[in-house]
């Protein structure tokens, strides 16, 4: 009964979504307030209905209702409760449900909190949001219905893919989807603004918080996915340039560009049509990401069973959303009034450079990801494009971007003095020299040149961002008390920027450290054997058997010592899940914050007396994720900036402000 209720709620949501989109669009065109106002209750009702449907599906999973096909295929009565709940989105149908849940939550948030939006803009934003909802609800109901029953009901289910039964992965999809779907808000605002034919700084202020929220959660989602790959796949890699990773990385790159170009719209009323285009592109890339993952057309660790019908459906959605909005863009963009002028060397100029480099980076990832698909369709052979390609194309773009990132905030709006900005950065320059020299000395030659570049870049980004902050609060130039006061009263967005930029430096440190200086040992070890990696002694004490709720595991015990001192006991596992007949590697990691010791237990050898053991030493690797979490926090801090809550909304006030302003504006 409850699954039917969910199914019914989902169908109802589809019709409510139609009500949310068509009448408000007509109402906004004809200035009919009553028709426009329909959007608000409709958005809230749609969210409630979708939540009800989602709750019904969760209920079916939690009580293991095996008369529902989705539960049979992805759950098992012995599965731990956490994975019964997270298993709802651990499969295709459920993950699309999560997608639509996020979409309607964002829509309802605009309906509830967007009281001071101009009525026509609000009606149109909600209408576009409703149209996206219509597309995806149709997709779920036609190709991926999670409420289909199976008769007769089997006694137990097929269980969830064991690789997904992991706390890190349990929360990876919600963050990722919140990010993907969050960009739909920027998209809806962009399309609504195009219909209105008007983009101004007030518009940018409404869009920025949504973009920030989406960007922050997407950052977190990607970081979690990378962390999961690192410890769960048992290979110790943190990024594979896998098509599906790229699918999430492209909206992130484009979204980062959007985040920065919207600043220019907000502060200087310039780059308007470019920002609109970025909003469209970012969400289109999110949709394409969904298409790549869900269609299974690319070889990937993420590709699940293939169903061409679904792929085509999403492709059609993508074509309508992207094609339609780009058509609208080409009709309306030329009518947008160009705004403030600026010299090439200026804050605006720096943000334009940021945008160009980010777009170029997005383009290289895009080409590398889709080229194999293109060749395949043209019947020109099957190829794969791997890490070497992306390292050769992405890094040359990313390195100047990080260099410029530090300088940009020192430049003033309209026109600036590059020399003066660089002079103020001397501390960061010194830090780079010291970091590179120390690395070269400690590592005796320093390893690959790229590693020294990476270390220098990390120092530049981290120290440079802090220098900018110190400069802004006049640290050491005035009394400490005074500086403290300034810091406290600095806008939250300035704090957010410093945190996010500095943390990118930390991530670069981690990426460089582990890529350049990781050491590994792969050997067949018998109990009692020892292996030595990076100055640590690993003694293999033996293997015991462990019973889990839905698996059996071999658990190895390793005692790690350094210079005779005991450091840690590591217990990696090899789990066999009986229902899915799959084995997973649960690596054991000991972290000292400066490096990780990583042990993965492999297959037993032919005669069963020894096991293949992989031991890694990953220097600096934790900083990749510390930096990632920091970047997300930077975004969230920026989100709490008071101007997004107060003062922002009124167009009249903004109109007077943006006219002839010459004094340096409060920096971003």
């Amino acid at each position: 009964m409850i699954p039917e209720l969910g199914h019914y709620a989902l169908v109802l949501a589809l019709f409510v979504a139609l009500v949310q989109s068509v009448p408000p669009l007509v109402g906004a065109a004809t200035r009919n307030a009553a028709w426009m106002n329909v959007a608000v209750p409709a958005a809230i009702a749609q969210m409630l209905l979708v939540l009800l449907a989602y709750a019904a599906l969760t209920w079916a999973h939690v009580v293991s209702d095996f008369s529902v096909l989705n539960v049979v295929q992805n759950s098992h009565s012995a599965k731990p409760m956490l994975y019964k709940v997270s298993g709802v989105w651990g499969n295709h149908e459920g993950s699309m449900m999560l997608w639509i849940v996020m979409l309607t939550i964002f829509g309802a948030a605009v309906a509830l909190f967007g009281r001071n939006l101009p009525p026509t803009l609000k009606a149109r934003v909600l209408a576009v949001q409703g149209l996206i909802g219509v597309g995806f609800l149709l997709f779920i109901l036609i190709t991926s219905n999670p409420f289909i029953r199976v008769v007769p009901a089997p006694i137990d289910g097929n269980d969830l893919n064991p690789l997904l039964q992991d706390p890190g992965l349990a929360f990876h999809p919600p963050f990722l989807y919140a990010g993907y779907v969050g960009f739909s808000m920027a998209f809806s605002f962009a399309v609504a603004a195009l219909i209105e034919g008007r983009v101004d700084p007030a518009w940018a202020r409404w869009v920025r918080p949504w973009t920030l929220a989406a960007w922050s959660t997407l950052t977190m989602g990607i970081a979690m996915g990378s962390w999961w790959a690192y410890y769960e796949l048992g290979w110790g890699g943190w990024w594979y340039w896998d098509p599906v990773e790229n699918a999430s990385f492209m909206p992130w790159l484009a979204g980062t560009a959007l985040l920065h170009s919207a600043i220019v719209v907000e502060k200087r009323d310039a780059l308007k049509s470019w920002t609109i285009l970025l909003a469209i592109v970012t969400f289109s890339l999110s949709l394409m990401g969904t298409f790549l993952v869900r269609s299974g057309i690319l070889t990937s660790v993420h590709a699940f069973a293939v169903d061409p019908k679904r792929g085509i459906f999403i492709l059609v959605l993508l074509a309508i959303a992207t094609g339609g909005s780009l058509l609208l863009y080409s009709l309306r963009a030329p009518t947008l009034k160009a705004g403030g002028l600026f010299a090439p060397i200026s804050r605006e100029g720096a943000l334009v450079l940021n945008n160009l480099l980010l777009s170029t980076a997005t383009a290289t990832v895009f080409i590398g990801t889709l080229y194999p698909l293109f060749l395949d369709i043209m019947k020109l052979g099957k190829v794969s494009v791997g890490a070497p390609f992306f390292n050769a194309t992405f890094l040359p773009v990313a390195i100047p971007m990080v260099v410029a990132m530090v300088v940009g905030p020192f430049l003033s709006w309209k026109r600036a003095d590059l020399g003066a900005a660089l002079t103020r950065l001397w501390v960061a320059g010194v830090a780079v020299v010291i970091a590179v020299a120390v690395t070269a000395y400690v590592k005796a030659g320093g390893g690959p040149l790229l590693a020294l570049v990476g270390i220098g870049l990390a120092a530049w980004a981290f120290v440079g961002s802090l220098v900018e902050f110190a400069d802004r609060i006049a640290l050491f130039r005035t009394s400490f008390r005074n500086s403290w006061n300034r810091a406290v009263h600095l806008p939250r967005s300035a704090w957010g920027m410093t945190i996010a930029h500095a943390c990118l430096g930390l991530s670069i440190l981690g990426m460089t450290g582990t890529s350049a200086w990781q050491t590994e040992s792969i050997s067949a070890m018998k109990p009692g054997d020892r292996a030595s990696v990076a100055g640590y002694e690993f003694q293999f004490d033996g293997v015991g058997l462990v019973d889990g709720p839905n698996f059996k595991a071999e658990r190895g015990v390793f005692t790690v010592t350094k210079d005779g001192q005991r450091v840690a006991t590591l217990e990696p596992e090899r789990r066999s899940y009986s229902t899915t007949r799959m084995t997973t590697t649960e690596s054991a990691i000991h972290t000292t914050v400066f490096s990780d010791l990583y042990v993965a237990l492999g297959d037993p050898t032919q005669n069963g007396t020894a096991w293949i053991v992989r031991i890694y030493h990953h220097p600096l690797v934790p900083w990749i994720w510390i930096g990632g979490v920091g970047m997300m926090l930077g975004g969230l801090v920026s989100l709490t900036d008071r101007r997004f809550r107060i003062g922002a909304p009124e167009r009249r006030r903004m109109a007077g402000k943006t006219g002839g302003k010459s004094a340096p504006l409060p920096a971003e």
């Binding site: 096909l69 049979v72 295929q73 199976v150 089997p154 006694i155 097929n158 893919n161 690789l163 796949l233 048992g234 290979w235 057309i297 690319l298 070889t299 660790v301 590709a303 699940f304 069973a305 293939v306 160009a338 002028l341 090439p344 334009v352 450079l353 160009l356 480099l357 777009s359 170029t360 383009a363 290289t364 080409i367 590398g368 052979g381 099957k382 190829v383 794969s384 494009v385 791997g386 070497p388 390609f389 050769a392 194309t393 773009v397 792969i522 050997s523 067949a524 007949r581 799959m582 084995t583 997973t584 590697t585 993965a600 492999g602 297959d603 050898t605 032919q606 020894a610 293949i612 992989r614």
Partner: protein, 154 residues
């Protein structure tokens, strides 16, 4: 600076960005593209010392651990032809005889020395290249279909 001039600058910069992306991509493609071959295609294909991907089924009964304990020898087949493969390291969790596999490496003295054997997420999943190669050899059965069959049987 006039509006027109600024627009020209922006356009120039944008083209520069796009141009450099294309140039980077094209140069990188020359060295870094990895082709995929099935054992049958390998019979006619000149691969030389190039890195490529080999895909097919792990032949039943062909998997042998070498005395050093960490090297595995096996044969990849598309039923028409087979290729000897050697791989040093830990195989992915889902590596099994009779299952689809994709390995990356190069030919050395008639043996394919794999640098990497690709992991899969789920056992119903067959890499598209492999299913294609098997279809061409005429032995493909859709794993998704057989999986739903078993699901229905229950």
């Amino acid at each position: 600076m006039t509006r027109k001039k600024r627009r020209l600058y922006m356009l120039g910069l944008a083209l520069l960005g796009l141009g450099s992306a294309t140039a980077l991509a094209l140069t990188a493609f020359q060295d870094n593209i990895v082709f995929f071959y099935s054992p049958s295609q390998l019979q006619t294909q000149q691969v030389g010392d190039r890195n490529f991907r080999l895909g097919g089924l792990v032949e039943e009964g062909s998997v042998q651990k070498q005395p050093d304990g960490v090297t595995t020898a096996f044969r990849v087949t598309d039923t028409a032809h087979t290729v000897d493969v050697r791989y040093r390291g830990q195989l992915p969790d889902l590596f099994r005889e009779g299952q689809g596999v994709v390995a990356e490496g190069r030919m050395t003295g008639g043996v394919f020395v794999a640098r990497e054997v690709l992991a899969k997420h789920d056992e119903n999943y067959m890499p598209p290249e492999v299913s294609e190669a098997l279809k061409q050899a005429g032995v493909y059965k859709n794993p998704a279909e057989s999986a739903t069959k078993t699901a229905k049987k229950e």
